[in-house]
Symmetry: C2
Subunit: 251 residues, 2 copies
């Protein structure tokens, strides 16, 4: 059984701990958290350490912490020549300390503390310095996901930027929709079927083919009505920029 240590206690770390614990195929040896209590709802006390010096032997060490802290923590590890990976979409593999063998284990998903996810549907993007390490990571990833893919650091950066557009920014547009509904005493949940269908559509159609609405129809009258209707300057600016962008993309 693959022996794994998870270093971190945030959203990604906690989701990984849960899935490794439940897989039955992976030996989650230990987890590291500066504050042990943040993981006590997931793991018995003996499996949690708050000292980097006390980290146990394992096949794979997964650093799942904030981007800025990855290099520093990889430097503070007291062992050498082992496989140490991070889980970040935007950090190059080479930012890991060279005393250990480097790799990346990037689950392409958005994790919120209070929302369970089906890990088997999450693509896991892998990178490793050495072929044998890639195979180790692949073995680990195949145990928890149906989609495992080799992605180099440059591609991962592109993927991460794309993910910001299709997930973080998309969620912000949901927030604006929610604000507008609230202002007019409309329950936001009546927009949910539309939101789900808009996401589901692009499983079958390319996003370009799926584009609808006043912008692509060049329906200037509706566009002006909408801009008139909006009172928030920030919402107006977003409406204008995205409308122009749709029209430029689809000439």
């Amino acid at each position: 059984m693959l022996k794994v240590v998870v270093i971190g206690s945030g959203n990604v770390a906690q989701h990984l701990i849960k899935i490794f614990k439940n897989s039955g195929q992976i030996n989650l040896v230990q987890a590291f958290s500066r504050k042990a209590e943040t993981l006590l709802h997931l793991l018995e006390k003996e499996k949690i350490t708050s000292s980097l010096a006390d980290i146990k032997d394992a096949d794979i060490y997964i650093i799942a912490i904030s981007d800025d802290a990855i290099t520093g923590v990889s430097e503070q590890l007291s062992f050498k020549n082992r496989l140490v990976v991070h889980t970040s979409g935007s950090v190059d593999m080479i930012q890991l300390d060279p005393k250990n063998r480097k790799g990346v284990f990037y689950p392409l998903q958005t994790f919120s503390k209070n929302k369970e996810v089906d890990f088997s549907t999450i693509p896991i993007c892998l990178e490793a310095e050495y072929e044998k390490d890639y195979l180790l990571l692949e073995n680990l990833a195949n145990n928890i996901s149906k989609t495992v893919i080799s992605i180099n650091s440059e591609q991962r950066k592109a993927l991460h930027v794309s993910a910001v557009f299709v997930s973080n920014f998309v969620n912000h547009l949901y927030t604006i929709g929610d604000q507008i509904c609230n202002e007019h005493k409309i329950p936001f949940n009546i927009l949910q079927p539309l939101i789900l269908e808009s996401a589901d559509k692009i499983v079958k159609l390319s996003p370009k083919a799926a584009q609808t609405g006043p912008a692509i129809r060049k329906d200037q009258k509706t566009i002006e009505k909408h801009l008139d209707f909006l009172s928030d300057e920030n919402q107006k600016a977003i409406y204008t920029l995205l409308t122009n962008s749709i029209q430029q993309t689809n000439v």
Copy 2:
């Protein structure tokens, strides 16, 4: 059985024709299209007319055509004192000609020609001048959808603007994600689970609570890396505006 005539041949009209035909509870008397051939794959020839003067008797006439044409077509109808509704999110009920009883039958969904939708999940937003007409519309709507809601013209406008943000603009962000993936030879479909999860999340969490990513973390380093990475000026402008907007919304 409720007798219905659909006036129009676009996406919304075609979806309505299909669902009325299949409901078993509604008598779709006739459909009007300037070009009869656009509806021949859905209806027998005898049920299609291309002359407004030949429209038959019915309980409800549904005008499902482009916003700009609604008033004109409602004026050209040769009958009086019947219930005539439109399906538009952004046209006031009073823009219908006053010689007939006015109403609105607005299915809140995005319709594409090549994508089937489950009509029963689509909220239908109703408005009518007279109580008895509202009940007729409610009867019709309840036959095809689980969610029927009374929405006045002002609220419908707000709903339509919200829908542009959470559907049309969201789809454009998918398009940008697709462009970035293409440029870097990454299959766009590995973003699909992320896209579906981001939509699914807000069924359980408010969009504000669901917000993740570098903007809300105020992770300036990642934000700058991303802006550096993007070469398209339009994509940069959208990235900057939405990042600022997330940070302003969540102070």
